[in-house]
């Protein structure tokens, strides 16, 4: 059972959080590997605090508030880069949580998940940009703060797409479902690339620019001339994404411990037995699909606003696999696992691969020699930051072979009862 606030474990976690916060505030100077390590250490304190089985609510509240509401924004003020990374992690965390429902809970392998992300992104792009005005006529583009309405609309539209896709394909066996969803993802990408004629809906491979950002008024009023170079808009996005992550986690946890959540797990474990217990297969799977899609669609809107630019490139098969790698890494069906996976894969891609690339480039340009061979001879095509597929592939294979339940396996017991008064019997009374 969870320990109290003053127990050794809780105090340990709080102390760790304070130490890493201090480190972050005083060590962060740039974006090198040391800073990344400090950042990761800070995030680890969040992970430790969310272990509901071992940490009580009060400790959790203290640590989460300290790190997420106080420390990270302060770090961000000194260096927007890390605020951006945290926001990216948040966006992918919600995506991972959405795919976790489809793959982790219901056991449906969706390889085209990013298509729903694209739907949300293009929705806001068209509604709020000049391009959209050209397409939809007067009344558009919508004012930037219609963003919040767009989020709600995206939930509905993405869920609708989820149901449309799911209806014909959810009767298929697992492997086929995977291929078909992959095909669907590709179809969406090709459509995004080519729907610039006869009617220019998506503006083709050039993408759509000039997408509106919400709450820019708030950012402007908050802006203080004493902090030059700091984009208050970044803080706005951070807060927004943090709130959405909170909502996503809550939705996940509430569904998990309910009739529908258990129905999903039942279907994953044994479809025939689930049916015999009265669970309607197709309808239950559709709900999983629609819910996951809704998560993705929502974050699509946020993504489009944050980037102010969307193009078909951001929504290819690699991205779908990236999200899959996150939940496989973290733990299929595990809520905390999805977030750990999202954080690790995002940081790996954004930070570590990039640092490796920068390092190699440096070695190449200075002609560093080892065993008589100069790094200047390294071909320019060799660019580690582009090797995300290798990373994803290794993660998927290694996890399935060695830790199929992930780094943070799902705790499968959602109900615990007190059995201390029950006796073991041989049969009926």
């Amino acid at each position: 059972m969870a320990a109290g606030l003053l127990s050794p474990r809780s105090l340990g976690v709080v102390a760790y959080a304070i130490v890493t916060t201090a480190m972050a505030l005083f060590v962060f100077t740039g974006s090198g590997l040391v800073d990344t390590a400090a950042f990761v250490a800070l995030l680890v304190s969040v992970h430790l605090a969310t272990d509901a089985a071992r940490i009580d609510g009060a400790t959790r509240f203290v640590v989460l508030t300290l790190v997420l509401v106080v420390a990270l924004p302060l770090v961000g003020v000194r260096n927007t880069f890390y605020l951006d990374v945290a926001t990216q992690v948040g966006i992918y965390a919600v995506l991972a949580l959405g795919l976790n429902i489809v793959v982790g809970f219901a056991g449906l392998l969706d390889l085209g998940f990013i298509a729903f992300f694209a739907v949300g992104a293009y929705l806001w792009a068209i509604l709020s940009s000049a391009h959209g005005a050209g397409l939809l006529g007067p009344g558009f583009p919508l004012p930037p703060d219609a963003f919040f309405v767009a989020i709600l609309v995206a939930v509905g539209i993405a869920a609708g797409f989820g149901i449309l896709l799911g209806l014909p394909v959810l009767r298929l066996k697992g492997d086929y479902l995977a291929i078909v969803t992959l095909g669907f993802g590709e179809v969406i990408r090709v459509l995004a690339n080519n729907l610039d004629k006869p009617v220019n809906i998506t503006n083709g491979p050039q993408g759509i620019t000039g997408i509106a950002q919400p709450l820019s008024g708030v950012a402007a009023t908050l802006a203080s001339p004493a902090v030059p170079g700091f984009k208050w808009q970044a803080l706005v996005y951070y807060a927004l994404v943090l709130a959405l992550v909170g909502i996503a986690v809550t939705v996940n946890r509430r569904l998990d411990g309910s009739k529908i959540g258990r129905a999903w797990i039942a279907i994953r474990e044994d479809e025939i037995a689930a049916q015999a217990m009265g669970i309607p297969l197709v309808r239950t799977k559709l709900v999983a699909f629609a819910t996951g899609a809704a998560f993705a669609g929502t974050m699509g809107v946020v993504f489009a606003a944050k980037q102010t630019f969307v193009s078909p490139e951001s929504f290819d098969f690699n991205q779908s696999i990236g999200v899959l790698a996150m939940i496989v890494f973290g733990g299929l069906g595990s809520i905390r696992g999805a977030m750990v996976g999202a954080a690790m894969v995002t940081i790996l891609n954004l930070q570590i691969l990039k640092a490796l690339s920068a390092g190699l480039n440096h070695l190449r340009s200075t002609g560093f020699e080892v065993f008589g061979w100069s790094f200047a001879n390294l071909p320019t095509q060799f660019e580690p930051s582009k090797y995300e597929r290798l990373v994803f592939g290794v993660i998927l294979i290694a996890m399935m072979l060695h830790r199929p339940r992930g780094l943070v396996p799902a705790d499968r017991r959602t109900i615990r009862v007190d059995t201390s008064n029950e006796t073991e019997r041989e049969g009926a009374r």
Partner: protein, 265 residues
């Protein structure tokens, strides 16, 4: 004579060229315990699968409490009040013992997706009631002490009991048990027998069993139906079936049947 709870008329099913179930008719009254027996491959489990909606019958009718449920999908059949267990145990191995039974009860809940999402009062009340009911059923089958254990970790005999508890959670009017005593020692079989009698006595549910353990069948059943090669070849009391020449022939071969008939006369 009370109207039959379950009424099967002329049920037919072929797989490719093979007729697995051939014009089988079958009736089960309220509060009865009935057995279906026959040599391996006689079509008993196929018969169950047809009645419970896992296979679609080629012909015939299935009626439950007067309502036509022929060809309904398995989940609709469960909703109508027909629950079952499986020959090769099909538990949700990754869930706890209690959760397995709670899943069985889910079908009777009225609060759904949005109730769970917004934690409505109705959701919370129903959730608590489900858990209480599941615990009751676990006590009924004698597994309450293991409620928090993973179903996959239970020993074989307890897994069978859990399957029964899970099926009972769907609040059925009729329970179909596919080889409930398979692989059990005599003591466990006695326990299974007591459980089945209790199901009828305390819950008022009719039970249909497929079984190979003849002693269990003979001591438990109000009536026995015998299938062979998909056809019903005999039906009646334990004594009637035991001495029926066609039944003996089906199990032991023609020569023995002739000899036994002589002995029984």
């Amino acid at each position: 004579m009370s109207e039959a709870l379950l009424e099967v008329t002329d049920l037919d099913k072929s797989f490719g060229g093979l007729k697995a179930v051939d014009a089988v008719s079958f009736a089960v009254p309220e509060k009865a315990i009935v057995s279906v027996i026959g040599p391996n491959g006689a079509g008993k489990t196929t018969f169950f699968n047809l009645v419970t909606g896992i296979y679609l019958p080629d012909g015939g009718r299935v009626r439950l409490a007067g309502r036509d449920i022929t060809g309904l999908r398995a989940d609709r059949v469960a909703d109508a009040g027909l629950a079952r267990t499986f020959q090769n145990i099909r538990l949700f191995a990754g869930m706890t013992v209690l959760e397995n039974v709670v899943v069985g009860h889910s079908l009777r809940l009225t609060s759904g997706y949005f109730g769970a999402l917004f934690r409505t009062a109705r959701f919370r009340a129903e959730n608590a009631a489900s858990i209480a009911r599941a615990l009751d059923l676990l006590r009924f089958v004698g597994l309450a002490a293991k409620a928090n254990e993973l179903a996959g970790n239970l020993p074989y005999g307890e897994q069978r009991r859990l399957e029964v508890a899970r099926a009972l959670a769907t609040e059925p009017r009729l329970l179909l048990l596919d080889e409930p005593a398979a692989g059990m020692n005599p003591q466990e079989t006695e326990g299974a027998k007591a459980l089945i009698l209790a199901i009828r006595a305390q819950l008022g549910i009719s039970v249909v069993l497929i079984e190979h353990d003849m002693r269990l069948v003979m001591s438990l059943s109000d009536r026995i139906t015998v299938l062979d090669y998909g056809r019903k070849i005999a039906e009646g009391s334990a004594h009637e079936v035991r001495t029926h020449p066609q039944v003996i022939e089906a199990y032991l071969g023609r020569g023995v049947a002739a000899g036994t008939a002589g002995d029984a006369a």
